[in-house]
């Protein structure tokens, strides 16, 4: 896959999402199902890597780019992450008043809600690949419950999970 194609596919995913991880269903569809450039395991690792780093949530796209084409791919991924946010500037200049329209607001709410359904649907095959024993299942459930109750940085949860996995390995 060429770098331009990689950038365009990742940019398509970020341009059709409205927060860090809502690009995920589009990424999985294009890179795992359609072009077979990634496995579910690599996509899972990309998400974990993105969550382990500081900064914005959507940076797992950089990791996806790296898995497909090394460092140049990672740079293409980073470019795909930073391009769409600049759309806010023409919006500030020209569209401010349109965003107050109730039907536009309603459409955006519907897209956000749909993204929740899409993320759940896309997470199922990843869960089948990653949750292959009692320990991974416990860690996934604990991460889910903890972040649902307490809105803390995901970096801490990823670090705690890594320590738990390491401890389990050393004790076995």
């Amino acid at each position: 896959m060429s770098l331009l194609m990689l950038y365009l596919l990742l940019a398509k995913a970020t341009l059709t999402s409205f927060s860090g991880t809502t690009s995920f269903p589009v990424v999985r569809h294009d890179f795992v199902e359609h072009y077979h450039q990634l496995t579910d395991r690599q996509l899972n690792a990309a998400i974990a890597t993105g969550q382990a780093a500081p900064g914005p949530n959507g940076l797992y796209i950089v990791s996806v780019g790296y898995f497909v084409a090394g460092v140049p791919g990672g740079c293409a991924g980073l470019l795909a992450v930073i391009t769409p946010p600049f759309l806010i500037i023409p919006m500030l200049q020209f569209l401010g008043r349109w965003t107050d329209k109730p039907r536009i607001q309603s459409a955006l709410r519907a897209v956000t809600i749909a993204a929740a359904g899409l993320i759940l649907s896309t997470t199922l095959p990843l869960a089948r690949d990653a949750l292959n024993g009692p320990l991974p299942m416990t860690i996934a459930l604990a991460s889910f419950a903890f972040l649902l109750v307490k809105r803390t940085s995901s970096v801490f949860v990823i670090a705690a999970a890594a320590l738990a996995g390491l401890a389990a390995q050393l004790l076995s």
Binding site: S19, A53, G55, V62
Partner: protein
């Protein structure tokens, strides 16, 4: 149009660069925490940005495609220093963390030869599956109130089903959801 700074001189590009670097990379707690820190520093303390400029940037960042916090950095810094400010803010908010992600991903392959590292990575991957579930719940949760639970459950449920059991692509599902939202008004 650009914001007129309140009672202070317009900051230099260097100051914008340093301030966004610090706020975006050293604030823990995700996008909302970063945007709150920017309010404290730029609106309340330094008075580089007006409350109105902050509010419109915050509102539009929510509906700008891509990562909300980067859109917010672009919008708020554009209000302060125009296009050079916006480009500087987005780059310092994303490039350092992007380099960390590339290094971590490169390390992922190298670490696969160690059993301990594989165990730690498997646990991190399991945690990320849980986080994806949380992300979906957090997107849906604000809409599960008395006035909006019905469209929320129907739209999320149908989107889930269409992706799971039909050949529809995610983008088409999102387009269908947008049309549904225009026809079936979801209250504020």
């Amino acid at each position: 149009m650009l914001d007129e700074p309140v009672n202070v001189e317009r900051p230099t590009l260097y100051h914008v660069f340093l301030t966004y670097f610090r706020l975006a990379n050293l604030t823990f707690g995700g996008g909302d925490a970063i945007m709150a820190a920017i309010h404290t520093e730029l609106v309340t303390a330094r008075k580089w940005l007006s409350q109105e400029g902050y509010s419109i940037s915050y509102a539009l960042a929510r509906i700008t495609p891509g990562t909300n916090v980067l859109a917010f950095c672009a919008g708020s810094a554009w209000k302060i220093r125009g296009w050079p400010g916006a480009i500087a803010a987005v780059l310092v908010a994303s490039v350092p963390a992007g380099i960390v992600v590339i290094l971590l991903t490169a390390g992922y392959g190298a670490l696969q030869s160690s059993a301990s590292a594989r165990a730690a990575i498997a646990a991190m991957v399991a945690a990320s599956v849980g986080m994806m579930g949380t992300a979906a719940c957090n997107l849906l949760r604000p809409y599960l109130d008395r006035r909006r639970w019905a469209p929320a459950v129907v739209i999320a449920g149908i989107s889930f089903a269409l992706l799971q059991w039909s050949a529809m692509t995610p983008i088409r599902v999102l387009g269908l959801a947008a049309v549904t939202g225009i026809i079936w008004r979801i209250p504020e």
